[in-house]
């Protein structure tokens, strides 16, 4: 906690300085860094100072702080039901509606098989059992997010912790970000998730309503947000908490060499989804 706090202050100071040197419109165009969005219902945090220092090349400047996650798939395979526990924790925490049909489906975190999670990895002569592993998928909070680049209103933006956040009040529902995301991480509210029965019960919040997180209106996009509302009060993301002490998920600042996650990344061979797309996903997988 103490370390986190200190890091936070350090970053806050750094980013304030960086914010002074606003990057040119052209660099913006290339990099697609969104600006701050104050009314971020899903975020709460603002992205006041993430103007990245200008660089000569076309590589992203590494932000000092980038939250990321390591997902240890064998641990999920060993703990039957753990993945579902994570999904339920997240979907309850964020009032993610369940319509029971694929057309209206909204999901922030879900499971798929190896083949469809890593279609660009070799599927040629796979080892036995590989495709039966439960791969937990979510938004990768890319360091170089195409969704942020595409959004015409900055309703989706990267905050100063590297988290890609949605502003539900600004989103116009054009779904350009959904076309832009190479990972299918985004869902759209095709209908009103707040519909109620005559007795006042919500129709689509399977586990009841969490009063601590806003529900959405129809016509906006949503996705995993790495729980900034929990991080702000020193709690880990809901899914990470649900894994208990299995260590099936490790969360933290991947750019801080002393963080637990950096050490895990250093000690293990990890892969990422479609890294060839150049988006620099911040979610890593131990297979």
């Amino acid at each position: 906690m103490d370390v986190k706090r200190r890091n936070f202050l350090k970053i806050a100071g750094l980013s304030a300085v960086a914010g002074l040197g606003a990057s040119s419109a052209f660099t913006q165009l290339l990099k697609g860094n969104a600006l701050a969005s104050e009314e971020g219902a899903g975020g709460g945090e603002t992205a006041a100072g993430h103007g990245a220092p200008e660089q000569g090349g076309h590589q992203e400047a590494e932000t000092a702080f980038q939250y990321g996650m390591v997902i240890d798939i064998p641990k999920f395979a060993a703990n039957k039901g753990l993945a579902e526990k994570c999904i339920n924790a997240c979907h309850y925490e964020h009032n993610v509606p369940d319509y029971g049909n694929p057309k209206d489906e909204i999901k922030w975190i879900w499971v798929d098989d190896y083949e469809h999670s890593f279609p660009d990895a070799s599927q040629y002569k796979r080892n036995a059992g590989l495709n039966d592993l439960p791969v937990l998928l979510t938004c990768n909070h890319c360091a170089n997010p195409p969704c942020v680049r595409a959004c015409p209103t900055q309703a989706t933006f990267k905050n100063d912790k590297g988290v890609v956040i949605m502003d539900f009040h600004r989103c116009i529902g054009c779904r350009f970000c959904m076309a832009a995301c190479p990972y299918g991480a985004r869902s759209f509210n095709w209908r009103n998730p707040r519909e109620q029965y005559a007795n006042g019960n919500y129709k689509f919040f399977k586990h009841g309503l969490n009063p601590n997180y806003p529900t959405r209106m129809r016509g906006v996009v949503e996705k995993c947000n790495f729980c900034p509302e929990r991080l702000a009060v020193g709690k880990p993301p809901a899914c990470v908490e649900a894994t208990g002490d299995t260590k099936a998920m490790v969360f933290g600042n991947i750019n801080d060499p002393n963080s637990e996650i950096a050490k895990v990344l250093n000690a293990n061979f990890t892969i990422q989804r479609n890294s060839a797309a150049g988006t620099k996903p911040s979610v890593f997988y131990i297979i």
């Binding site: 990099k31 697609g32 694929p102 116009i172 529902g173 779904r175 076309a179 129809r218 016509g219």
Partner: protein, 384 residues
Amino acid sequence: MLEKALVGSNKYWAWIFFLLGVITIGGLFYLYQFNYGLGATGMSRDVSWGIYIAQFTFMVGVAAGGVMLVLPYYIHDFKAFGKITILGEFMAIAAVAMCIMFITADLGQPMRIMNVLLHPTPHSMLFWDMIVLNGYLFLNAICGWVILNSHNKGVHYPHWVKPFIYLSIPWAFSIHTVTAFLYCGLPGRHFWLTAILAPRFLASAFAAGPSLLVLIAMVLKRVANFDAGDKAFQKLGTIITYAALANFFFLGLEFFVAYYSRIPGHMHTLDYLFWGLDGHNNLVLPMRFSLTIGLIATTMLLFPQIKRNEGTFALSCAMLFLSLWIDKGVGMVLGGFVPNPFDRVTEYYPTVIEIGISLAVWAAGALILTILYKIAISVQAKEA
């Protein structure tokens, strides 16, 4: 000049009321969609854009197609386009208006559309698309209206419109280029990730737009006593032929790259569109049909006898237009989504609501076009 749209034959009014009827029904459908949400359409998490955006893309092309008249007339002083150029400009206005309607119909929160202006975002291609489309609407409205007004008064158009006319030429190219950028700049969607998407868009636009204009001009010849002139038709025929040839050449290049390289991501969509993928083949018939009639029409247009005969010329233009509409107004957008980046196929079926709203937008476009053409033709008739 507007009053000229208010006098017309019974047939004219019947047509107007027919269009108003279609618009009203579609408007009711839109009201339903507005209240329920976009779940009233067939779109889903995987196929997150459907026929609205596909029609939008196609109509940007039709709008850009108007430049194939403006350019020869104003730059090369091709006199035979004297009467018909204004029709090209007005067609562009109607087409851009349709684009704006299709985009609005597709928004989840249409009341917030001004957010695009309130938070201008230069790294979003949608922001630029909005600028170029509105700019093009403005340019064509200015040029078309001022020039027609001068005709009406029997004077030469004022010199200050010249720069607007010249500007509208590169601008026409820009609208379709930026529309292609909406697609071809997205990582992870191989079908669109091709540098020749913009040239492909332009080629198909320069064939489809003028084809539609030829067909409309032929109708006007019968119902409104407006003759664009044989020379204008023949020249348009030539323009259409070359644009269509370029279009199919580009398509052939896409096939070569996909199937010679055999990179799965490049082949998947073409597989889905022309052969079927994993047992999903909803678009195979329409796409093969599109390719067949497109190639036949282009071949027909290569024969001067066919082009000179009004009936066969009209037939080839109609076939080509339909072919390009299926290719771009259906296959291009759906092809990018239906086989998703994770090797899964999610089919898409537009709903009655969605089709009704789309038809209403087409009817609204036809209404704008009818009114503008009525005015233009009345002015030119007075002149003659």
